[in-house]
């Protein structure tokens, strides 16, 4: 525990809490700044614009109270894990809807992020070792191109080609409706079968940028003095790579891994939409379309929370694997 001091942890924790507070306050203020009365909207949807119904909704959701009181209730509720009640799925609490959606998002986001980093580390390292070769040039060129392909286009093409046309994979959803929940083996297979295309589409697109990053990390490490020294000592190339270069080149991409895990939760939104995958992305989109404000806010709060949490973890782990960090 050389690198970590109590002061460092406290500083990071404070910063994380502050970030979370900023995000949550925005989350609270946005719908109120934008105008538009959800109660009227719901009334026009469900009760032919009845003013009585709208008033009832306002009282029920506390929309008739002062803004500060609403803010206090909002923060207080959050602390107790209370995210309010969904307008459209009344009276199901937002928390329950999110708890049901979150595992699916985590499943595809975790697997695809890890896979893409693994492949990027491998291919990026090989490309860096063979700098200037045909392989290297192809990897870099193709990565540059793929980096600018909209990620939902890849998902659409995969659904069309492998899903609809060849019928190798299901076109959507997380598992077959009415699947036998008791049979664990079959269930896992069913879920993996459905997750394959979403994961593949996320891997393909995120791979490119990470590959370029890993390659340039390795190249940078190779230009450092201690590598030159190791070469001068006559160490074998494979030993230099595994013992000196690889570890140092991986360090920056470790932070990248944690950061992108957080961002990916929000980034998979279009993917989930295309595959009708019942995760947090599909939930927030449906909530946006049906003006279900508590659900939109709940989803954003959870996404923000997961990003801040992962960042905080990365901050804590980083000095352990790279003692230089806490010196700054």
């Amino acid at each position: 525990m050389k690198g970590i001091t109590l002061k460092y942890v406290c500083k990071r924790l404070l910063s994380a809490l502050f970030t979370l507070w900023v995000a949550l306050t925005f989350n609270f203020l946005l719908p109120r700044m934008m105008g538009g009365d959800p109660a009227e909207y719901l009334a026009s949807q469900n009760a032919m614009g009845s003013a009585e119904y709208a008033q009832q909704i306002r009282e029920q959701f506390g929309l008739d109270k002062g803004i500060l009181e609403q803010y206090a209730r909002y923060l207080g509720g959050l602390l107790q894990g209370d995210l309010g009640v969904s307008y459209t799925n009344f009276p199901i609490p937002v928390k329950d809807i999110i708890l049901q959606a979150m595992p699916w998002t985590l499943l595809i986001v975790l697997i695809s992020t890890l896979l893409s980093f693994l492949i990027a580390w491998l291919v990026g390292t090989v490309a860096a070792l063979k700098k200037g070769s045909l392989f290297d040039n192809t990897v870099v060129g193709v990565s540059f191109y793929i980096q600018s392909v909209p990620y939902f286009l890849v998902a659409m093409l995969l659904v069309m080609g492998l899903g609809y046309h060849l019928n190798w994979f299901p076109m959507g959803h997380a598992m077959t409706p009415g699947a036998d929940l008791a049979n664990m083996g079959a269930l896992v297979k069913n879920i993996a079968y459905h997750a394959f295309l979403p994961v593949l589409s996320l891997v393909i697109v995120s791979l490119a940028g990470r590959m370029i990053m890993m390659r340039s990390n390795i190249l940078q490490v190779f230009s450092e003095d201690y590598i030159v020294l190791a070469q001068a000592k006559g160490l074998r190339r494979s030993k230099i790579l595994t013992k000196y270069a690889l570890r140092n080149a991986m360090l920056p991409s470790f932070t990248g891994l944690m950061l992108s895990l957080g961002q990916a939760v929000g980034g998979a939104i279009a993917t989930e939409m295309i595959f009708s995958y019942p995760g947090i992305g599909l939930t927030i989109m449906n909530a946006v379309l049906s003006h279900d404000y508590p659900l939109v806010q709940g989803c954003f709060a959870i996404i923000a929370l997961s990003v801040v949490l992962l960042n905080f973890l990365a901050d804590l782990i980083y000095p352990l694997i790279d003692p230089r960090v806490s010196l700054e």
Binding site: S15, F18, T19, V22, A23, F26, N27, L30, P31, M33, M34, G35, G36, F144, Y145, I146, Q147, S148, V149, P150, Y151, F152, L153, M156, L157, V159, M160, G163, Y164, H165, M171, S216, L219, Q220, S223, G262, Q263, V265, G266, G267, I269, A270, M273, I274, I284, M285, V288, L289, V296, Q297, C299, F300, I303, A304, V307, V308, N311
Partner: protein
């Protein structure tokens, strides 16, 4: 004497041009693609055989001589839509990218050169907002806005993207601020803003350009994503909007690759050209300064 000096200066700027462009194949290819799309955008009414919203053909027609990219489910010519879509996608991308660059350069220069408490506070703010998940935030924002015109798109995308750029410009400014020419300017009695914009900025132009083309690419992709999610302006025809309409109208079930590939690959190709320019500039600049420059 004067003449000689002038000649030397001329050759200096020519040398820069030569180094960054004439001898730089990647940048030349990138600029070539860029100019191509810009010309398409400018001359769209001349190039496109039909209006982008004309509904006058058989729906779902495959590519043919009359319709090089086929017809969509409404009976609109897809080639004409792609041509007109260039306008919206480029305008949103470039304007949002410029907005981002403006904020990013200003904050980065200020935080890097002034340092001290101002710089510290600015970077703290940047770090706090860097963690907020941008796309999810944009979706929430777009959801609560009453309507999403082209200006709202530009402001939302441009205004939320500058954080990384500010960081990059700041770290570059920090290392520039230690150079002799900055000291010389200080001795001459130049003001802070003057040094920032007249002395340091011209020296980090390659980094600024590299950053700028990256943020333009990401702005284009963000516009496409927002449009795809149904949060763009439905009255505009952009490449992202086309993909959104294609998805909503089950282009997948009609195997209508001719409706999805052209707008998608157009985005990718345009983004690719920006990437080529930015990365090659960065490499040359890094070589000059003897070391890697990170964005």
């Amino acid at each position: 004497m004067d003449k000689k000096k002038q000649k030397k200066e001329k050759s200096d700027s020519y040398l820069v041009l030569e180094k960054y462009f004439l001898k730089n194949t990647r940048a030349k290819v990138g600029v070539g693609i860029l100019v191509f799309f810009a010309l398409v955008a400018i001359f769209a009414p001349v190039i496109a055989p039909y209006g982008p919203k004309d509904i006058s053909f058989m729906p779902w027609e495959k590519p043919s001589l009359a319709h090089p990219l086929g017809v969509n489910s409404y009976g609109q010519d897809i080639f004409s839509q792609v041509v007109y879509g260039t306008q919206v996608t480029m305008v949103v991308g470039v304007l949002a990218g410029l907005l981002t660059s403006f904020i990013g350069v200003f904050v980065g220069l200020l935080a890097g050169y002034k340092g001290g408490r101002t710089g510290e506070i600015l970077m703290r703010i940047v770090d706090v907002f860097l963690v907020v998940p941008t796309l999810a935030f944009m979706i929430v924002l777009a959801a609560f806005l009453p309507s999403m015109g082209i200006w709202n798109l530009v402001i939302i995308i441009g205004g939320l993207n500058w954080l990384w750029m500010a960081r990059s410009i700041r770290s570059q400014t920090l290392s520039e601020a230690r150079r002799e020419y900055v000291d010389a300017a200080k001795v001459q009695g130049m003001g802070t803003l003057e040094i920032m914009f007249k002395e340091i900025l011209p020296n980090i132009i390659p980094v600024v350009t590299a950053n700028m083309v990256m943020v333009i690419t990401s702005a284009m992709l963000t516009e496409a994503t927002l449009s795809f999610l149904g949060l763009g302006d439905p009255t505009l025809i952009s490449w992202g909007q086309m993909l959104s309409v294609a998805f909503d109208n089950n282009a997948i079930l009609y195997n209508a690759w001719w409706w999805m590939l052209p707008p998608g690959l157009s985005i990718a190709t345009l983004g690719f050209s920006f990437m080529l320019i930015g990365n090659s500039f960065l490499d040359i600049y890094a070589n000059d300064r003897g070391g890697a420059v990170k964005l």
